[in-house]
Assembly symmetry: C2
Homo-oligomer: 197 residues x 2
């Protein structure tokens, strides 16, 4: 059955970006260490986790800052399968107050101006048999988690302490989860949690 899944990489101290994320720094100073498993690993477990996630994604939701990073020159490109030739990539839904005037990437982007819940409502029918995957940023995922919109949280825990950046959780957050599966590679612990309603 189609699920709503948040899927994000996190440091041991709970950051999903390094300091100063944005178009200039990508995922922040030192933030690339969070994504070694996805970008720079030939560990078969990492490769399988990434391929499985891609294959299961029927539609993808992201926040505006993440969109700006990947749509900027130097962001996603053809070599990653995200350029002009994009057959097979899922539709993307971007949560933003103000849609951009132009989009560089030749992908199927929809800009949703009334919040994450509305983005999920639009993404569900577009996802078909696949899952609705929220790939970040941290604020969108956190809001979906605590608004009860998630079925599953997938954390890719990188072996690094970043010290600063965008925290996934905030003081006062409380949530119990059920750990359902985990796979560990040389570069990350891939942890899957079911969200308890």
């Amino acid at each position: 059955m189609s699920k709503v899944i948040a899927d994000i990489s996190m440091s041991l101290d709970g950051y999903v970006t390094g300091p100063d994320p944005g178009v200039e720094q990508g995922l922040g100073v030192g933030g690339e260490a969070l994504h070694t498993w996805a970008i720079d690993s030939d560990d078969p477990i990492d490769v399988a986790v990434l391929a499985g996630a891609t294959e299961q994604s029927g539609a993808v939701i992201m926040g505006r800052r993440l969109f700006d990073i990947i749509d900027a020159p130097g962001g996603w490109d053809d070599s990653m399968g995200y350029g002009a030739e994009h057959a097979g990539t899922p539709p993307f839904f971007v949560v933003t107050h103000t849609p951009p005037s132009a989009v560089r990437l030749g992908l199927d982007f929809t800009f949703v101006t009334d919040g994450p819940a509305a983005a999920i409502d639009q993404a569900r029918p577009a996802a078909g048999e696949g899952h609705v995957v929220i790939m970040g940023g941290g604020d969108v995922i956190r809001q979906c988690l605590f608004d009860g919109l998630l079925d599953e949280l997938r954390l890719h825990l990188a072996p690094v302490v970043l010290g600063r950046g965008t925290p996934l959780f905030r003081p006062g957050d409380r949530q119990s989860l059920v750990q359902t599966s985990a796979e560990v590679s040389s570069t990350a612990a891939h942890l899957t949690y079911e969200v308890i309603a």
Copy 2:
């Protein structure tokens, strides 16, 4: 070879206790969820992780607050193998500015007044072939990690977001680690990291 190992349970948002830890609340409000794997699990993986850690411990280091919690009435007791009958338990070294005037538990406690590094120096010969295990609190472990005193960090990641409590890491901390092994039970992800000098 004997190693210096920090071994502690942590929430997904990085807390090693809930709010208000101390003699009254133990490991803080909601903090018991951190230790389900050790205290209330019959999952064979949890049982094996706990037994392995106990067996390998040649000497144990802890901070003063943790000592106060376990030495208070309602803390450790005979049923946990930590009462008057304590053959086989390792020597304990407590880092404190002011040793207590009396100790309830019939265990081998040494109070070390000149910091964690001195406690490790005293614990090493006492550990024999076993490891020196730092079981908390978070401040002692953090200090040892960033002072370069640890060989290994073992985190037991509980599937809970606590929102408040004692964080293991602080803003500004930076450290790369090497993930060396992991075992996942139904109640926790047991993650082992080698500390890079």
